[in-house]
Amino acid sequence: MNDVRPMIEVRGARKFFGPLEVLKGIDFSVARGQIVAVIGPSGSGKSTLLRSINHLETLDGGEVWLDGVQVNQKLDRRAFERHINRVRQQMGMVFQHFNLFPHLSVLENITIAPIKLKGMPKAEARTLALKMLDKVGLADKIDAFPARLSGGQKQRVAIARALAMQPKVMLFDEATSALDPELVDEVNLVMKQLAAEHMTMVIVTHEMRFAAEVADRVIFMADGAVVEEGKPEDLFRNPTQERTRGFLKKFLNG
């Protein structure tokens, strides 16, 4: 509680896609160990917001900070490239479509970054990979190739890959949206486990129930702006904004 510096801080984030303003000045912060779920209709800008945290999207205005370091600071091209590569090593990202490397085995998917970027010896990286795979319940798949895995397994390997860099935060971009319904739970379970370990997480999701269960705070976005945010029990039960009520109603009825 004394550690007041937020792990992630976004100030006045603005982003345009052509003439369309997809982020209209967003402010939010995530404390160390906090889990924030971002919900909202498609096109609300929630994925763009998440992707701008690790600079996969470049903001047109505003600042992003990670643990006291500005992510999108102004540097010349080369210096920024070095800077951003360093910063990204501290942020794990999990994508909707997994984006595992199909030409590499599960082991190599997980170890390539620690080996190449941190200079970790191969034997040590293998031990680490086993530990991470154990965590996601897939230690027996270490030598498999991604093509042989189910969607749920792929996503769990993708989580293990991100965790192997021992990041300070984990960013989830609709991690279960591309999965068959019966495979969603196994991925959610892994995320809950991470939550129990006090990993700082930002979770962009369509799953209201999961958001309510796992998040400390929920942010509802629409049209590139934060409409409402609060504890899940407040936001889901007593939304103060008409827009939030409308969105949630659609979900409850659907």
Partner: protein, 216 residues
């Protein structure tokens, strides 16, 4: 049909075909090296480099290979480039096929899902590292077929350098017609020899393709 003529010319023609093979291999090496460079330019973030790459492809695909060969061999000495026929032919063919091969390479790179680059970058890999360890190994697989098509076109295209008297298969054929007046037999033998070369190349491409495909 003069079968005995066919028997008599075959040793010489096989030797000439070997020159065609050598010419093809050297042009292929030049072509691949230049193509990699041009593809790199075409994929660059820097507008001027991209423009240079595009310009190269437009020029070499937009003009006849024969004119490119003539320009280098006949036009070269005028600007201080004096080359033997074989060297001029190999270089001109290599530079020409490079324009096509650059597009095959670029196509392969662009066919790799964008998410692969994003996943690599999000782990902290620099762009060059992501290219080398993540995108290119996957792109290589996708390039084999189109590059193979380019290579086949190159082998057949070597016939053009007969016009600058490189003593390869087609030149040899023309010379023998001059002394025997039997164009049917001679061009038939020539065609069969080209077919054998192209068939051999196709086998190699198939094998490469299968070797790579089996990996994933």
């Amino acid at each position: 049909m003069d079968i005995s003529l066919v028997g008599r010319i075959i040793p010489v023609f096989v030797q000439a075909a070997w020159t065609t093979v050598e010419l093809s291999l050297i042009s292929l090496a030049i072509g691949l090296a230049v193509a990699a460079l041009i593809a790199g330019l075409r994929l660059s973030h820097v507008a001027i480099l991209r423009f240079l790459g595009t310009a190269y492809v437009s020029v070499f695909r937009g003009t006849p290979a024969l004119i490119q060969i003539f320009l280098l061999y006949f036009g070269g000495p005028q600007i201080g480039i004096q080359l033997e026929p074989f060297a001029a032919g190999a270089i001109a063919l290599g530079l020409n096929i490079a324009a096509y091969m650059a597009e095959s390479i670029r196509g392969g790179v662009l066919s790799v899902d964008r998410g692969q680059m994003e996943a690599a970058r999000s782990l902290g890999f620099a762009e060059g590292q992501s290219m080398r360890w993540i995108v290119l190994p996957q792109a290589a697989k996708l390039m084999i077929r189109p590059l193979g098509v380019n290579a086949v076109a190159l082998v057949k295209g070597t016939a053009l350098v007969a016009t600058i008297s490189v003593v390869e298969l087609t030149y040899t054929a023309q010379r023998f017609i001059g002394s025997t007046y039997k164009p049917f037999e001679i061009f038939a033998v020539t065609a069969v020899l080209y077919m054998i070369m192209v068939y051999g190349l196709t086998l190699i491409i198939d094998r490469l393709d299968r070797a790579y495909a089996g990996e994933a």
